[in-house]
Amino acid sequence: MKWFLKHALPPIVPFVVIVLAIEAIVAAGWVQAFLLPRPSDVLRSLIENAREIGVALGETTLASLAGFALSTFVGILVAIALASGGWVQRAFYPYAVFFQTVPIIAIAPLLVIWFGFNINAVIASAFIVSLFPVIASTLSGLLSVDPSLKDLFHLYGASRPAALFKLRLPYAMPNIMTGLRVASGLSVIGAIVGEFITGGGLGGLIQVSRQQRAIEKVFATLLVASLLGIALFAIINLISYLTLRHWHASEKNS
C-alpha cells in the first residue's frame, strides 16, 4: 500500500485528470467528437471491437517480436564485425552511420514490392527501424572495454573467441541493453508503419477505421499499440535488471 502510494499513484493522477478533462471538453461541445472522441466512447469501442483488435494485436506482436529478434541478432553480429578493427570497420562503418539518416518510413512501400503484401514486409519494416540502435550501442560497448582487462586476457593467452565471449560481450552488456530498450519500442513503430501499407495488424486496423471515420476505434487501436510498446519495453527492462543487477551501477537500487 505504501509502495502504491509512493510509486504507482503519482503517474496515475495526471492520466485520470487529463482523461476526465477531455471527456468534459468534448461533452461540452468545445471540440467536435469526430476530431477527438470522448474517452468513454474509446473505451466502449475497445470493448465492442475487442475480438477484432485482439486478432490485430496478435499479428502486430508477432511481427514486432520477429523484427526485434532479428535486429538483436543481426545488430550484435554486425557490431562485433565492425568492432573487430581492421578493414571491415574502415569499409563499413561509414555506411552504418549513413544508413541511420535514411528515412525508414519512405522505404516501407519498397518493402512491399520486395516481400509482397504479407507479414514478411511488416517484419522487415520492424527489423530495419530497430536495427541501428542495437548496432550503435553494442559497438560503443565493445569499443570501450577497459584496456587493462584486455591486457589481462592477452597475458593469459586468451583466444579471440574467449576474449569475445568472456570479456568483450559481457563488458558491452549494459550498452547492449540500452540499445535493446530503444529497439523494442522502435520495432513496434516499424511494424505499424509496415502495416499501414500491407493492411494487416493494428496498423491496418487504424487505416481501415480512419477510412470509416470511426475515430473512437482509431484511438482504441492506438491505445493498444502503445500498450504493446510499453509491454515490450518492460520485458527488456526486466531482462536487463536480471542480468545486470549484480554489477552495474545503472541497475543498482532499482
Partner: protein, 262 residues
Amino acid sequence: MTVQVPSRGIGLDLRAVEKTFPGGVRVIEPVSIRIDAGDFVALIGPSGCGKSTLLRIIASLDTPTSGTVTRTQARTADPAHRDIAYVFQDAHLLPWRKVLTNVSLPLELAGVGKSQREARASELLKQVGLADLANRYPAQLSGGQRMRVSLARAMVTSPSLLLLDEPFAALDEITRQQLDDWLRVLWHERGMTVLFVTHSIHEATFLANRAIVLSTRPARVALDHDLAAHLPANRTPAVRTTPVFAEQMRTLFVALEGGPWA
C-alpha cells in the same frame, strides 16, 4: 610426485632497454637491470617517469624500441603454471563474475577443467582468508577485499614472476599496510620473484629487499640499493618505526629528489 613444491622464482635480465614513444618522446633511456630469481625488488620513481612502461615491457605487453629482456625459464610440470602474473593499479575484476570464478579465470583461459580450477581457486581463497566471500560479486566487496581477490587471481597460476604496478595506490593507508604485510608473507611462502612498482618510498622500504630508484623522464637508474643488507628479513609491522627504517627511507628519498640534477 603429487605435492607441488612452491615454484621458485625466475631471473630477469634487462639489457640496454630503451623506449621512445611514436612522436619522439623518450620515456626510458637505455637501462640495464639484472634481477635474481626469488628477489623482491621495488621500482620507485616519480609519476610519469616510465616505470609502468618498463613493467609492461617486462610482461611483454609492450615492446622496447631497442634492447632485450631475457627471463630464465621456470621448471614445472604444472600445466596451469604461467611464468608471469601482473597486478594492475586497480583490482580490475570482472564485475559479472563471482569472486570464485574471477580467481579461477586464468585457469579457465589456460583450459583447466571446471572442477579442478574451482578447487584450486577456492583453496587459494582459503589461504588468503577470503573463503567466505567466494560467492559474492566484486561490487559487494570493499576496495581492500577486491585487491586481495585480484592478488589471489594473480597467484592462482603459481607464477614465477609477480609484477605489480602500484597495486595499492588507491587504498587507504591502513588497508595498504595490511596488504603490504600480507604480500611480504606471500612472497616468503611462495618464493617467487616480485617486481613492485610504487611511488611510495615507505612502501618500497618496507616491502623490498632491493630498491631501484628511477629518475624523472626519461627513466634511468638513479640508485640501486640493497635494503636486505640493512633491514631484517622478517619485516614485522614494528620495523616501520625503527631508526634504521627511517635511515633507509632517507637514502631512497635523497636519490629520488636528486633526480636529474644530482
